[in-house]
Subunit: 316 residues, 2 copies
């Protein structure tokens, strides 16, 4: 069988099955944005790793190396933030072919450093090597958090309000613009230089009433379904309340916005949303509610239940 | 400037310089086999990451996927062991081109799992993606250890005895055999399936008289020089005492044996070597002594100082 027939999710499921025989003790692995490794008294480290491959995740001719450096770290810091943790270290592995100039490598490193400095995350190690023809990048990021404060996908509860931290669909529109050869689109900047919600994630991590959290990397519909699966519940989402500058379809199905998706206990939701605005000068966007009776996601548009046929929308 | 002119070490030096502005707090980064992240009361996690690229680090047509899976984890467990730590988690990122079969991926995972099971190291996460034409693998491994027990390269002291845990040069001979088309050589098995000294490293980590430790991945001469640089000292090494089944030259300059290299306080050395034999049923090989007067490494052969001109031997 070809691997593409099995698919990525098929292979991952196979890996999970194979590793059932290797107990992970108190550590928690595959299933959330980060693994959680308890250490010391009541503390935990969270760990995430992401690989970026040239011509799969980025085009060398399109993304400036400075922004690629930033993005390589950003997507990992976003995973750390989504657990509520403070990022404390990163590790960078990079394979560079011979036709990459020292200047390219330098600008890549400058970009990586700029985001490291912005959030005070030291680079504690990594690996550099050559490759035949394409760039490969792997970043591992580590965060620290009190064990009791870790936010999991499995925490959503009946009647929780579902929030997102910002506009959705920008990155997907940027990717469409790149593919159409429209290089002066403002959305391309969002696609190339996503801003991880590090401080937002830490602040939200400190609120006990935030029950479940993850970052939106695959698209709202897909990522919300992960929370619902892990929490064994459903949700009602009001399409007209989803913040977007593009289309609802892109906002719901487009990935790589790296906003946070969270659920908050209904009794505390207004207070937390108000404090969030005061703290960050921007709103939390309430887009719906957790409903245990709902089968997966029920979408509504100004009160009318709709059954969208979005392209790229995966059934779950 | 082409990156190859700058060289890997030049770029790494540049990275270290660039990141001086991002303080690492109590964590220790680049310079040892693992970064050390203190957590909790007196505990630390050690973290290492290694990237393997097809046609740079391995040939798909030569190494069986099962062994490649084992080796991908083994080289990282070796780094964890060299700090004296107990490995507690690994993370696997892998990019696979479309012409890799599901069977190949399955055997790779089986190999990775077999070593995970051997040492009880759970797989806590990772990333799977496609690539255009070549396989890229990145593994991050994490170990746990009491902070006071961590073995650094910088710990070697005057008169310490220098030990290695096993035969050197086998892996390099295996690589030569592969390149010569001699596929029935026993050394190829060592090159493809190195055994990380996990239990040896943990045991040695518990001995306070073990002052410095690292694993031999680049070759004895190169790796010992790292200990000497970090410890600001020199060493006398007796060539005739270096354990090898191949040639002294391969034993000294060949990499990827993944034995441990350590220095032990002179007063405790005989006792620790004797206890090691009782515990593991194999000897620690004493090959020389730390000498602060010596400029880097002084090599001797049966008492006569020699100035070897080994090919591939880097001056330092």
């Amino acid at each position: 069988m070809e691997l593409r027939e099995l698919g990525e999710f098929g292979w991952i499921a196979g890996i999970r099955e194979k590793f059932r025989g290797v107990p992970s003790g108190e550590s928690l692995g595959i299933g959330d944005d980060c693994a959680v490794i308890p250490c010391g008294d009541g503390e935990a480290l969270v760990v995430t790793t992401d690989m970026l491959i040239e011509d799969v995740h980025f085009l060398r001719a399109v993304i400036p190396p400075y922004l690629l450096g930033r993005k390589s770290l950003a997507v990992n810091l976003s995973d750390v933030a989504s657990m509520g943790a403070v990022p404390i270290a990163s590790f960078l592995s990079i394979a560079l072919p011979g036709d990459v100039s020292a200047g390219w490598a330098d600008r890549f490193t400058d970009g990586y450093r700029s985001l490291s400095e912005e959030f005070g995350v030291p680079l504690l190690g990594g690996d550099t090597t050559s490759s035949q023809d394409r760039i490969a990048i792997n970043v591992t990021a580590i965060g620290r958090i009190a064990r009791a404060k870790v936010k999991y996908r499995s925490g959503a509860r009946e009647n929780d309000i579902v929030y997102v931290t910002g506009y959705l669909g920008d990155s997907a529109q940027g990717l469409l613009d790149i593919r159409s050869g429209v290089y002066d689109s403002p959305f391309i900047a969002v696609h190339h230089d996503p801003h991880p919600c590090v401080n937002e994630g830490i602040w939200l991590g400190n609120q006990p009433e935030v029950h479940a959290m993850m970052d939106i990397s695959d698209g709202l519909a897909s990522d919300l379904s992960h929370i619902l699966e892990e929490s064994e519940t459903g949700a009602e989402i009001s399409i007209e309340r989803i913040p977007t500058r593009t289309t609802v379809e892109l906002a719901v199905t487009g990935g790589e916005d790296y906003q946070l998706l969270l659920t908050v206990g209904a009794e505390a939701a207004d207070r937390i949303a108000a404090e969030y605005v005061r703290h960050f000068g921007k709103p939390l966007y309430g887009i719906g509610r957790i409903r245990s009776g709902a089968p997966d996601i029920i979408w509504s548009d100004n009160g009318e239940v709709v059954r969208p046929q979005w392209k790229g929308f995966r059934h779950f």
